[in-house]
């Protein structure tokens, strides 16, 4: 790829990017969120058209105007957010767009399933072709995604291949949803695929992985290529500096836990006993969780996504009804509230609980509202923001002006629609709102997912500051690094249970990884 430029309204996502992929190599594309990695790969996959630049495959220039073209040239892509239809089977998902038919019209699912079975044997990617995607765990779903790409590349055998055949596999942040164990297995698969002649592009922002699996590394920053190197020639610190453009502190500075000895004498801020919660599909997602959090400590909950963390947080914040168990906040019994599932969020908030929700667009903000309204979203009815039922616009604006400076929310005006802010600033807005009132307990779910390094640092600092002020913090994250660097104690959730809890000082990545996979 040479001189690739892609502009979106207001941003240059790729600025004259040159990128070279050799046959049979695993090439890591490294950069922080928003650096243009995904855009570049979407261009190679034909999803976006570049404003400038050329793409060459095996030395010949090609014009990829749609994924169809890319597929025809042997390019496959596994997207960060899985492109799978949950209510359809593995077979249906894999053949979609390249269907096996009888008479060109009717589906031949049997023959397709056989072909998929053969393929999965060949590459050691076990999967049941008849299973529905929605019943499969994330690790298997990713296998299906990889098979989807391989299916198209092998399918080419029967049809005349395009004269320019590249055999490229692109994976966008494939390890974000995997346990360390599963990641290992994925890396083995990738290595073996590379040995069979496939060229692999591996997008990531995790430095460690790069050294693990890549033959070469290209670093992107702000849409530009910073440099290309190999794992031999560089170090983690060097790469981090290349990624961010300045020295970054890879570990967060953390004060030692105060009053460690006295902890056992103190009352927990949050006391949860045998909590059970069902998910949207009606199955029990949280199966009897008990935990305590004390003032001034951070309890991190690690685990692969979909092991009940979401339901746990929603139950604790009153958004989801619990079916059994009890909860006390600051010694006050809130059990009836989480069981009624009615006006729960407000009653819990009024106890001094702050909630940074895992998906700010679902819960945390209203895109069409200005910053002002978003910053009082859950306290709009309190003084001074309302007198009786009449809102006090002056107080709301003053509040917004103060928080925008205090929390470094970059916006041209407090009247800008929140949906138009960058993800980092939106998240800062949510944090600002939750921290703007006195709190004794902070429940933060995936507080930095998908943000740029600057915002991540800022939010981490804010959370630690709250802890040092004596606030109890429940931190839920699928990012093991985040858990390790912030937590005082770490609990691992697996299939609705808390498998184990450990002091952060004694925790090792390897052991946590095994627990996340359910091995204890």
């Amino acid at each position: 790829m040479r001189g690739i430029t892609k502009r979106f309204p207001g941003v240059v996502a790729n600025d004259h990017v040159d990128f070279r992929l050799e046959k049979g190599e695993i090439h890591a594309l490294l950069g922080e969120n928003g650096s243009g990695k995904t855009t570049l790969m979407n261009i190679l996959y034909g999803l976006y058209r570049p404003d400038e630049g050329q793409i060459f495959l095996n030395g010949t220039e090609v014009h990829l105007t749609s994924p169809k073209d890319a597929i025809a040239h042997g390019i496959g892509m596994v997207h960060q957010h899985f492109m799978l239809v949950p209510v359809m089977t593995v077979t249906e998902n894999i053949i979609l767009g390249n269907e096996v038919t009888r008479g060109g019209l009717f589906l031949d699912l049997k023959q397709a399933a056989d072909r998929i079975r053969k393929l999965s044997e060949q590459y050691h990617l076990e999967v049941d072709p008849q299973a529905l995607i929605q019943d499969l765990p994330v690790g298997i779903r990713q296998r299906v995604e990889i098979l989807k790409a391989l299916y198209r590349q092998s399918n080419g055998e029967s049809k005349p291949k395009s004269s320019i055949w590249a055999d490229i596999l692109i994976l966008d942040e494939p390890t974000a949803v995997l346990t360390p164990e599963e990641s290992e297995s994925l890396f083995r698969t990738l290595t073996s695929l590379a040995q069979q002649g496939k060229s692999i592009i591996f997008i990531t922002h995790k430095l460690r992985e790069v050294f693990h699996v890549a033959n070469r590394i290209t670093v992107l920053r702000n849409g530009r290529v910073v440099g290309t190197t190999t794992p031999m020639e560089t170090t983690e610190t060097q790469l981090a500096t290349m990624m961010v453009g300045r020295e970054v502190i890879l570990t967060v500075e953390k004060n030692p836990l105060e009053f460690r000895e006295e902890v056992s004498d103190r009352k927990p801020v949050l006391h949860v006993q045998d909590l059970q919660v069902v998910d949207d599909r009606g199955s029990v997602a949280v199966k009897g969780v008990s935990l305590d959090i004390y003032p001034g400590e951070i309890l991190g909950i690690a685990g692969v996504q979909g092991n009940g963390q979401t339901e746990l947080v929603e139950a604790l914040t009153g958004l989801r009804k619990a079916i059994a168990g009890s909860i006390h906040i600051n010694g006050i019994d809130m059990t009836h509230i989480i069981h009624s599932g009615y006006s729960g969020p407000r009653k819990i908030m009024e106890q001094g609980v702050a909630h940074i929700p895992e998906d700010r667009h679902t819960y945390g903000m209203v895109d069409s509202y200005p910053l002002t309204d978003n910053l009082v979203l859950n306290i709009y009815y309190q003084k001074p923001f309302a007198r009786g039922i009449v809102r006090n616009q002056a107080a709301i604006e003053e509040h917004a002006t103060r928080l925008v400076t205090e929390f470094d929310i970059r916006t041209p005006s407090i009247f800008i629609k929140a949906g138009n802010l960058s993800g980092g600033n939106q998240q800062k807005m949510v944090v600002a709102r939750e921290f703007s009132r006195p709190i004794i307990l902070l429940i933060a779910a995936q507080p930095t997912r998908g943000l740029d390094v600057g915002s991540i640092e800022f939010i981490h600092k804010q959370i630690l500051q709250k802890r040092d002020q004596g606030c109890a913090v429940l931190l839920v994250s699928v990012d093991l690094d985040e858990i390790l660097s912030l937590s005082d104690r770490i609990a691992v959730m697996y299939r609705g249970h808390i498998l184990a809890t450990v002091d952060a000082k004694e925790a090792s990545r390897e052991v946590l990884g095994l627990w996340m996979a359910g091995i204890k």
């Binding site: 976006y48 597929i71 799978l84 249906e92 979609l96 767009g97 390249n98 989807k148």
Partner: protein
């Protein structure tokens, strides 16, 4: 008191009303108990599998229909065959509308404009039939104008990203205005005689079958169209390449797009075909039933069709069942009006609308619409 159910060729079935109610009540209670989650019924359910789980769902509607028939027939005779044939006839526009809705929504486009499409088709079809004096030309124009209205819906919601419910309502309003205008300008003062409606066709041999023959094989063309389209659409949606792509586009358009499937093409074609089918439904009103065009003659059938679609969980067979249920409600209220039940006709004519609301309220939660429904697809 007894109820007589007359099956024309099978003779008459005389039933003591109260005794029949007793039996039906007992069946209901037994069914109810079986589904109370007692340990033994759990085991029973597992052993008998899915068929058994669906059983009450399958049995309940016919049972209700049967009970209602007995009630309505108390003290008089009810022509069961006639009622069933009438139900099918009245279910036709609802069923065709529901099929149109399924095609649209399976591809991710909400279509609340079925009412408007049917109204437009009923009007233009009749005008064409009137001026050409050919009912077949009228039918063709009706179908095409349904497709044209749908094409407008497609352009508004797919190309211009207009909220699909608003786009649909705009089309409904447009249809009312245009058909009212056309009626005043071309129909009211026309000296031409209205062409006769489509005759019923008796299918040789099959129409002589007892019961089935009289219900299914002595119908007018639109009924046959519905009966044929239901299995065709079922095969199309679940067993063909087109259907797989349609379902994928309706559930997860990005997934389809990343595999080179054109989301826009699939949606455009589905919406337009849906319009053609709705056009058939429109023809039912003016060309097959009334033989004229009246303002707003579709009377909300296009909306009831949506309820039938939801009832059928976006499956053609299920939607057909839903349409039959609403058709039966309509046939029943007509029957009751004719037989002189001591209930004001206004209340009887509310029945189809009430049934729609009840069905809708009882079903939600069981029925999940296609995931991407109503969400416009934007490509960079």
């Amino acid at each position: 008191m007894t109820s007589s159910l007359r099956f024309s060729t099978l003779g008459t079935l005389k039933l003591p009303t109260q005794f029949t109610f007793l039996i039906c009540g007992m069946i209901s209670i037994i069914l109810g108990i079986l589904y109370v989650p007692l340990p033994f019924s759990f085991r029973l359910e597992k052993r008998l599998g899915k068929v058994f789980q669906l059983l009450p769902w399958r049995i309940a509607p016919p049972l209700i229909v049967f009970i209602v028939l007995i009630w309505a027939g108390a003290g008089r005779q009810i022509d069961v065959i006639g009622m069933l044939a009438q139900s099918l006839r009245l279910a036709t526009p609802i069923g065709l509308g529901a099929l149109a809705g399924i095609l649209c929504e399976r591809s991710g486009v909400i279509n609340v404009a079925i009412e408007g499409m049917m109204l437009t088709a009923a009007c233009t079809g009749f005008v064409a039939a009137l001026y050409t004096q050919s009912i077949w030309l009228g039918l063709i124009i009706a179908v095409l104008s349904g497709g044209l209205t749908a094409a407008l819906h497609a352009v508004l919601s797919i190309r211009f990203l207009v909220n699909q419910i608003i786009s649909g309502m705009v089309l409904n309003i447009l249809a009312i205005g245009i058909t009212g205008f056309i009626r005043k300008a071309f129909i009211v003062d026309s000296p031409l005689p209205a062409p006769p409606v489509f005759p019923a066709w008796q299918i040789p041999v099959l129409s002589d079958l007892p019961l089935i023959g009289q219900v299914f094989f002595r119908n007018q063309p639109m009924e046959y169209a519905l009966l044929i389209l239901v299995p065709i659409l079922h095969v199309l949606i679940f067993h063909t390449r087109w259907g797989l792509r349609t379902r994928a586009v309706g559930e997860h358009p990005q997934a389809a797009d990343t595999l080179g499937v054109s989301v826009f093409k699939i949606r455009y074609i589905n919406v337009i075909i849906a319009g053609l089918i709705a056009g058939l439904g429109g023809a039912w009103f003016s060309l097959e039933t009334v033989g004229n065009f009246d303002d707003m003659m579709t009377e909300g059938k296009g909306f009831i069709a949506l309820a039938a679609m939801i009832f059928g969980k976006w499956n053609p067979g299920g939607a057909f069942g839903g349409a039959l249920l609403f058709g039966f409600a309509d046939a029943l209220q007509i029957k009751l009006q004719i037989s002189g039940v001591q209930v004001p006709y206004q209340f009887l004519s509310m029945i189809p609308y009430l049934v729609t609301m009840i069905v809708l309220a009882g079903l939600i939660g069981r029925a999940t619409p296609p995931a991407a429904e109503g969400v416009p697809f934007v490509k960079h």
